[in-house]
Amino acid sequence: MEHVMTAIRVVPLDSYLVLSFLLFSIGMVGALVRRNVIIVIMCLELMLNSVNLLLVAFSAYHSDPGAQIMVFFIMLVAAAEVTVGLSILVLMKRNTDSVDMNILNRLKW
């Protein structure tokens, strides 16, 4: 059993942190620079996944299933969110014939 632990801990936790942060940042920048709603949703998924990765890494280091459960729930929620998001997108496309997220800017000031 020890070897699993050593195997896991060969990669320092910090590396996972950095990777996760990097993915998170990329996802974030992506959400900022793109105007296509579906790509923005993808970027959001990317951000969620970076968190998942981080949680799993922590879970492995803490040897605690809690975080993995959390990841599980995050996946559920992400799925639900994507469903809702896509339905909104469909509605939007139907109403405006566009998926440009800045086309909807009638509510302001």
Binding site: I26, V33, A79
Partner: protein
């Protein structure tokens, strides 16, 4: 192990960058699949087999397929996305970069994580997850049904086409209360 980590890390980062920068939504979606798969690889590296499976099923199997479906449904690939001005992009990258830098700097200070002495290699397996899920995390599990129910009901409600006469009402006909 370390090399594997770097391998997956590199793939996921590159794929993520492609997601962000690809012109076509389809390409983005495919890059996202790649990214998620590499993340699944990380999960396996971290001894979380169950999650890795769920991840692949949920993300690549469900979510991404859904997205592709929508992309095709809406015929999105044909549309040319309006690009944001360069200055916006640069600012976004700078902000994101700063964000990353700050987190990186914090990482350098280290994480005061108390690493437990005991280690249970079966943590990531279905059994332990299952036990935890249905014992300790029963409530959230049950509640997630509410979440799903509402998401489903809502999605249907929104996406369903009503036979209402004023579909695609021209935007200008709506009274704008904001006029001042």
């Amino acid at each position: 192990m370390l090399y594997l980590f770097y391998f997956f890390a590199a793939i996921s980062v590159i794929a993520a960058l492609v997601v962000v920068s690809a012109r076509s939504p389809i390409n983005s979606a495919i890059a996202l699949v790649v990214c998620f798969l590499s993340i699944a690889g990380h999960y396996i590296l971290l001894n979380a087999q169950f999650l890795a499976m769920v991840h692949v099923i949920v993300y690549t199997g469900a979510i991404l397929i859904l997205m592709l479906f929508v992309i095709m449904l809406l015929n999105m690939n044909m549309m040319i996305e309006v690009q944001k001005p360069a200055i916006t992009k640069i600012l976004a990258v700078i902000t994101g970069g700063l964000f990353f830098l700050v987190l990186l700097a914090a990482t350098k200070q280290g994480l005061s994580t108390p690493v437990p002495a005991t280690f249970d290699p079966g943590v990531g397996l279905v059994k332990s997850i299952g036990i935890a899920l249905f014992r300790d995390y029963l409530l959230p599990f049950e509640l997630s049904s509410v979440l799903f129910l509402s998401a489903t009901a809502g999605a249907i409600m929104l996406a369903k086409k009503d036979n209402s006469p004023n579909v695609n009402r021209p935007p200008s006909s709506e009274p704008n209360g904001n006029a001042a």
